[in-house]
């Protein structure tokens, strides 16, 4: 009887251990509420889909991005200890997300939008970090980047970051309601400006035309102007905007596709999983930004 009890306990402990997130040694286990918050914020970023190849394991990296400087491949951010971020401390993960530095001090290329993720509140960063550890670990070695511009990482990139990269400032705590909440979700979490804001000659986002659309978006996409300009911008109602972000359905019956379709769908979570209140907050914020006349496409 006692042997049986011990066996059951061993199975229970083993099962719980297998289900628990992979936490670094000595770290305090996150609460369920924190993990839920982490998953929510993860979804509000679009599910970190840049780190997931379509129809492949979540966060395992390998997705290719071509830029004027060469080609990079998204890294494995699953909790695998050898090829992913499983051996990183929470602080190291947070530093990578918001400051773009790996534990060895190496600078991450700003294809990962740390200049805007820098605007995330500390509590959200902690929660996302905890959630990232719950996603199944995948052993997949990172593909090396191919930089074609001489001295790009040693000279050009630091100079570019210092001179041109706009940087968000993190709030003391994440705004909970209203337009401030919408602004926080759009700017820092959803990083909408990374695709929807045109870029200058230096490839920095032109924030004087924030969200005014981009003819040459990522992966050759044409990204619409979502400022409230009546002729060239987004003229949907706040309800229609919230509906679109929740379902992908446009008012004319068309359905989102491309990268927007991906971020709405997300990976383990996406924009579609945000609360109605947050989607409306985003919509109200989009209605409040300065209208910019910028016709995109035909």
């Amino acid at each position: 009887m006692r042997q049986g009890t011990r066996l059951l306990m061993a199975i229970a402990v083993g099962t719980l251990g297998a289900l628990a997130p992979i936490a670094p040694v000595g770290a305090q286990a996150p609460s369920q509420a924190e993990l839920a918050r982490g998953k929510y914020v993860f979804g509000a970023t679009g599910g970190c889909g840049c780190h997931t190849k379509p129809k492949e394991p979540v966060n395992a990296g390998g997705r290719r991005y071509d830029g004027p400087f060469g080609t990079v491949y998204a890294t494995n951010i699953s909790p695998d200890r050898e090829t992913g971020i499983g051996a990183w401390t929470d602080e190291q993960i947070v530093t990578a997300i918001r400051l773009g530095r790996r534990p060895n001090g190496e600078r991450i290329l700003p294809v990962h939008p740390y200049t805007v993720f820098n605007g995330m509140a500390a509590e959200d960063l902690r929660a996302v970090t905890a959630y990232l550890r719950t996603i199944p670990a995948v052993k997949r070695a990172n593909q090396p980047k191919r930089i074609t511009v001489p001295l790009f990482e040693s000279v050009f990139l630091p100079a570019w970051l210092a001179a041109f990269a706009p940087k968000e400032t993190p709030p003391a705590s994440a705004p909970a309601t209203g337009i401030a909440r919408g602004e926080y979700l759009v700017r820092a979490i959803g990083h909408c400006g990374e695709c929807h804001t045109p870029r200058t000659m230096t490839m920095a986002t032109d924030n004087s035309r924030f969200l005014a659309g981009n003819e040459k978006g990522p992966e050759d996409s044409v990204v619409p102007n979502i400022t409230p300009d009546k002729e060239t911008g987004l003229t949907w109602t706040v309800e229609q905007i919230a509906e679109y972000l929740a379902t992908g359905n446009k008012p004319d019956g068309d359905v989102a596709g491309g990268l927007m379709g991906e971020v709405i769908q997300g990976t383990t979570a996406g924009y579609k999983d945000m609360t109605k209140a947050d989607l409306l907050a985003i919509a109200h914020y989009l209605k409040s930004v300065a209208p910019v006349k910028n016709r995109i496409g035909k």
Binding site: L234, D254, V255, G257, G258, E262, I264, I296
Partner: protein
């Protein structure tokens, strides 16, 4: 007596020859499904499906669940035509299709079959007058049915 026999033989041979020629030409020529401008045809079909879907959503908001069945039925029939509207070599300047359509043809065909399946599911739910099932089928229809192709295979239009 001999002349009619020859005439009959000539007529018979002619009929066989005509039938053979017809069969041969029928085998070579593919069934025509549209106006001849396949890009315009498929864009019309997509717009038609968009209108049907917008109408279905309006009916859902009005609580007219059963009426959604006819929209779903039409979308299912339309979706069955999708693969034949993307013949090889039909990627023109006017087309918003990505080359992936032809490079990953089995995936594209699977996605269009998913559109048919989701439409049939929605139709059956609506016809059964089961509001809960219809609402459930409606909830993810856009992403699952239309989005299954739009996300990987279409260059998104800069729609407003």
């Amino acid at each position: 007596m001999r002349q009619p026999a020859i005439r009959r033989a000539v007529v018979l041979c002619s009929l066989v020859a005509i039938a053979t020629a017809a069969c041969a030409s029928g085998g070579e020529k593919k069934m025509s499904v549209g106006s001849g401008d396949v890009v315009a045809d498929r864009q019309r079909l997509m717009k038609l499906n968009g209108a049907l879907w917008a109408d279905a959503q309006a009916k859902g908001k009005a609580g007219n669940w059963e009426a959604i069945g006819v929209n779903a039925e039409a979308m299912a029939i339309n979706a069955e035509h999708i693969p034949m509207l993307f013949p090889p070599g039909s990627l023109t300047d006017k087309s918003k299709a990505k080359p992936d359509v032809w490079q990953k043809w089995p995936e594209f065909e699977t996605a269009s079959k998913k559109m048919v399946a989701e439409s049939v599911k929605l139709r059956d739910a609506a016809r059964s007058k089961n509001q809960e099932a219809t609402e459930a089928a409606m909830k993810d229809f856009g992403r699952n049915a239309c989005g299954a192709c739009h996300t990987p295979f279409r260059v998104p239009p800069p729609a407003r």
